[in-house]
Amino acid sequence: MRQRAGGLLRQAPRLTLALMLVPVAAGLAGTIAPAFGLGGTPGLQSFRALADWPGLGAAVRLSLVTGLAATGLSLALTLLILALLPGGRIFGAVLRLLSPLLAVPHAAVALGLAFLIAPSGWIVRALSPWATGWDTPPDLLTLNDPAGLALIAGLVAKEVPFLLLMSLAALPQTDAPRRTMLAQTLGYGRAAGWAFAVLPALYAQIRLPCYAVLAYSMTAVEMAMILGPTRPPTLAVQIALWMADPALAERGRAAAAALLQLTLVLGALALWRTGELVVRRVLLGAAARGWRGARLDRLLRPLTLAATALVLAAVGVGLAGLALWSVAGLWSFPDSLPQTMSLRIWREAAPDLARHAALTLGLGAAVAGVALILALACLEAEQRHALSPSSRAMAVLYLPLIVPQVAFLPGLQVAALGLGLDGTPLAVAAAHLIFVLPYVFLSLSAPWRAWDARIGTVGAALGASPGRIFWRLRLPMLMRPVLTAFAVGLAVSVGQYLPTLLIGGGRVTTLTTEAVALSSGGNRRVVGAYALLQMLLPAAGFAAALVLPALVFRRRRGMRAA
C-alpha cells in the first residue's frame, strides 16, 4: 500500500503535465487548423488577409511597447518598494492597501481609472468650473491615447500588487533583512546594497511570475479595450474583435493573428531575457567597482513613495468613483458629486448576486484546492525522488499563461463539445484548472524549493518519516506561501471570463461573466456594483493568506514576514 502511494506520488508531475498539455495542445490544434485553412481551403490566405490589414504594424508595435513598458515599470516599482520601504510603518500600510488590489478585476480597475483621467472625469470635475473655467469637458485625448500611456498606467496599477505578493511569498527564503543590514554596515546605500545582496536571490524566484506578467500585459483584452488606443487597437483586442465578427470569415484571420501574437510573446520573452543578462552584467560591474550608491537613496526613496502613492490613489480613488456611481442617480458634468442618489442598481443586482457568488466561490475554492494538491504533490515528488524538472516540462506548465487565451480556447471548446463535456460546472472547473494550476505552481514552487533542506535532514536524523517531515515541518513552515498560492488560485479562477463563457456554454455563470457582459454596456453604475462584489471573494482569500499565518506564528519571531 505504502509502495503504491509512493508510486502514485512519483507519477504526480507526469499526471500534472498531461493535464496541462492535452487541453492546450487540443485547443492550439483547433486554432492552427483554421489559420492554415484546414477544414476549408488549405493555404496561406489567412496570413495574407492579416498582412493586408492596414493597422498590423501599429498594432504589433503597440502590443510590444505597452507589454514591455508595463512589465518593466511594474517590476521596477515592486523592487523599489521591497528595497526601500521595509522596516517602517509605511511598508505595512502599503501592503495592506496593495494586496486587495490583486483581487480587483482588470475591467474594474480600467473603468475606475478611465473615470478618473477622462476629460469629463473626476479630476477635471473637481477643478471645474472654478479653476479651469470649463462648463463642458475639454476635448483632450487623455484616454485611448495613440501611444498607449493610459493602458500602460492601468497595467502597472494591476501588476504591481501581483509581483509584490509573489515577491513577499519568496522573500523569507532570501534572508533579506540580514543581508541588507550587512550591506549597510559596509557602507552601501539601501537601494544599492539590496540590489547587490538580495535581488539576485529574489529575482531567481520571481522570474517566472515576471514572464507571466509580460505575456499577460501583451495579450490583455478587457483593459486594452477600455484604456488603450482605438486606431488601431492592440493586436490582442483586434483578435478578439475578429473572433467576434459575425461573418465568421474572419476566424481564419483571427487564428493567423493569434499565431502572430504567440510569436510576439515569445520574442518579447527573449528580449526580456536579454535584458536580464544586461542588468546582471551592469550590477556585477558596479559591485566589482565597489560602488556604494549611498546618495542614490535620497533620490529613489521619494520617487518610490510618490509612485506607490500614485498607484494606490489611482486605483483606490478610481474604485471609489465606481462605488459612488453604483449609487448615483443623475451625475452630470461638472458636478463633483451626484445630484441624486439611488439604490436602484443594488436592488436589481441583489437577487442574482447570491446565486452567482456561491457558484463562483465554490468553483474557485474547488479548483484552487485541486491545483494546490497537484502542485504540492509535484513538488514533494520532485524532492523525495530527486526528480529535477526539465526545462521542457516547465515550458509546458507555462503554456496556458503564454498562449493567448483567445487563441486556444475556441479550439478547446470544439474539442469539449465533441466529447459532450461542456456546459457543466465540472467542465468549467477543469478548464479553470488549466489556468489556475500554473499560477498556483508559480507562486508556490520557488519558496517551496528554497526551503532549507537541512531542517528536513535533522528531522530524518531524529527518525521522522518523509510523510511526517512533510506534514509537521515543511507544510507548517511554508504556510504563508501555501495560503498565498491558494488565494492566487482562487483569484485567478474568479477572474476567468473566456473559459467560463466558452466551456460553460453560458449555463455556468459566475460573477465575472455577469460583470463582463454588463461592462460591455459601459454602464458605470452596474459595473461599479459588480466590481465591488467581485472583489470581495478573492480579497477574502488574500486577507486569510496574510492574517492566518500572522495569527498562527504570532509567538514565533523567525516566521514573521520580512
Binding site: A244, D245, V414, L501, A517
Partner: protein
C-alpha cells in the same frame, strides 16, 4: 331554410377547419413545452433589458409552465459561434442554445449556413397581430427575407438626442449636421466602425448623400461602388478633423457613446431606440432637458428578432417564448419607457379594444417622439453595403497615419 342553415354551418366549419388544425398543433407545442427550460442567449449589457427578460420568464412560467433562463452575452456572435461549434462537433440535437436575440448579419450568417430551425414564426398564434404591411422590416431583415426563420419582437429606429438646455435647435439635415460639426469642433462622434451603431450612422449618411438610394436594396455592385460611395467619404473627410478628439479616438459602442453624452463630452448623440432617452431620464441617468429628433427624409429602422437554432434542445419552449413576446400585453410593457421603451411590432388596429387601450394608456415619456413625429423608417441596406463601408472606413480612418 334548413338547407341554408346547413350550408352556412358547413361554410363556417370549412373556414374554421384550418384554424382548428393550427390550434391543435399549437396545443401540442404547448404540451411539449411545459416543464422545459429555455436558454435564451441575449446580449446582457443593459440591466433594463435583462429585467424585462426576467419578467417575460415569470409570465412564461405562470402562463405556460415554461422556465426561461437568459444567457447574458457580451456579444451575440458568441451564440452564433457556439451553434457553429456544435455543428462542427456533430451535435445535431440537444444544443445549448434554444433561442437567440438576433438580426442583420448574424441572421444572414446563420441562415446561410443552415444553423436555424423553422420556418416557425408565421405559425405562432400571435403572428396575426404583426404589422407586416406597415412595418416591412418585420419580414425583411437587412433585405434578407426572414422566411419565418425568425420572429420579430421589437422595432428600432435611429433617433438623435440633444440636450435642449445646451443646444436648443439641432440640425435636421445631413448638410446641416456637417455645418454644425464644423462650427462646434469636438462635440460629435460615432461608435468606431465596424461597431453596429457606428456603421448604422455611416449607412444613414450614405442614404442621404447617395445619388440613387434604391440601389442600397441590392447587393453592392463592385463596378459602381466607388462612385456610389464617393459622396459618403467626402462628407466624412470634411467632418473628421472636427469630430470628438479630432477623430483620433472613437467610443467603442452605443453605451460608451451614451456615457459621453451623459458626461457632456458630446452635444449630439444617437441611439437605435426612440425611447432610450426617456428611459434614461426616468432612471436618472440623463438630464430632464434631453430631447430626441430625427432627420428630414427619415432615419434607418429595423426590427429585433428571436430565432431558434437547428439543434435547440427545447425548441417547443422556445416557440412558446417567441409567441409570448408577440403577446399584446408583453409588447405594451416593452413599449413602456419606464420598462424598455422599445417600439411595438404589432398593428394596433388589429388588436382587441382592451389590448389597444394598453398602448394608448402608455405615457411615452418626455423625450420620446410620437409615432407620427418619428418620420419614415428607412429600410436597412443590403448587408453587403454594411460590410463594404465598414471595411473601407477602417482602411481610411481606422488606423493612425
Amino acid at each position: 331554410m334548413f338547407g341554408r342553415i346547413m350550408g352556412t354551418a358547413l361554410a363556417c366549419l370549412a373556414a374554421l377547419a384550418p384554424a382548428a388544425g393550427a390550434e391543435e398543433a399549437w396545443d401540442r407545442v404547448l404540451a411539449e413545452a411545459e416543464g422545459q427550460t429555455v436558454y435564451w442567449h441575449a446580449w446582457g449589457g443593459d440591466s433594463k433589458i435583462n429585467a424585462f427578460i426576467a419578467w417575460v420568464g415569470e409570465e412564461a412560467q405562470a402562463r405556460h409552465g415554461v422556465r426561461l433562463e437568459q444567457v447574458k452575452l457580451a456579444d451575440t456572435t458568441d451564440a452564433v459561434a457556439r451553434v457553429l461549434a456544435e455543428k462542427q462537433a456533430g451535435r445535431t440535437t440537444g444544443g445549448a442554445v434554444d433561442l437567440i436575440w438576433i438580426n442583420g448579419e448574424n441572421f444572414a450568417a446563420m441562415k446561410a449556413q443552415g444553423l436555424l430551425s423553422g420556418p416557425f414564426a408565421e405559425s405562432l398564434p400571435n403572428w396575426r397581430y404583426v404589422d407586416v404591411a406597415g412595418k416591412p422590416a418585420t419580414v425583411t431583415d437587412f433585405t434578407e427575407p426572414t422566411e419565418g426563420l425568425e420572429s420579430p419582437w421589437a422595432m428600432a429606429q435611429l433617433v438623435f438626442e440633444h440636450d435642449s438646455a445646451r443646444l436648443p435647435s439641432p440640425p435636421r439635415t445631413l448638410a446641416g449636421l456637417l455645418d454644425w460639426i464644423e462650427a462646434n469642433p469636438g462635440r460629435f462622434t460615432f461608435p468606431q466602425p465596424p461597431d453596429y451603431l457606428g456603421t448604422t450612422f455611416l449607412k444613414q449618411v450614405l442614404h442621404g448623400v447617395i445619388e440613387d438610394p434604391a440601389q442600397l436594396q441590392r447587393p453592392v455592385d463592385p463596378a459602381t461602388y466607388e462612385a456610389a460611395t464617393a459622396p459618403l467619404w467626402d462628407w466624412l473627410d470634411r467632418a473628421e478633423p472636427h469630430l470628438w478628439r479630432e477623430g483620433r479616438a472613437y467610443p467603442a459602442n452605443e453605451p460608451a457613446m451614451g456615457q459621453l453624452f451623459a458626461d457632456g463630452e458630446i452635444a449630439i448623440s444617437f441611439a437605435f431606440n426612440p425611447g432610450r432617452a426617456s428611459a434614461a431620464i426616468a432612471a436618472g441617468e440623463l438630464a430632464e432637458t434631453v430631447r430626441t429628433f430625427t432627420l428630414e427624409g427619415g432615419t434607418i429602422g429595423n426590427a429585433s428578432f428571436v430565432a431558434i437554432p437547428f439543434n435547440a434542445a427545447h425548441a417547443a419552449g422556445a416557440r412558446v417564448i417567441a409567441n409570448l413576446l408577440l403577446d399584446p400585453a408583453v409588447q405594451a410593457r416593452a413599449q413602456d419607457p419606464a420598462v424598455l421603451g422599445f417600439q411595438t411590432v404589432l398593428d394596433l388596429d388589429r388588436l382587441p379594444d382592451e389590448d389597444r387601450a394598453r398602448f394608448e394608456a402608455l405615457d411615452l415619456g418626455v423625450a420620446t417622439l410620437a409615432p407620427e413625429d418619428l418620420g419614415p423608417a428607412l429600410l436597412e441596406p443590403h448587408a453587403s453595403w454594411m460590410e463594404r463601408i465598414a471595411e473601407d472606413w477602417v482602411r481610411r480612418y481606422g488606423t493612425a497615419p
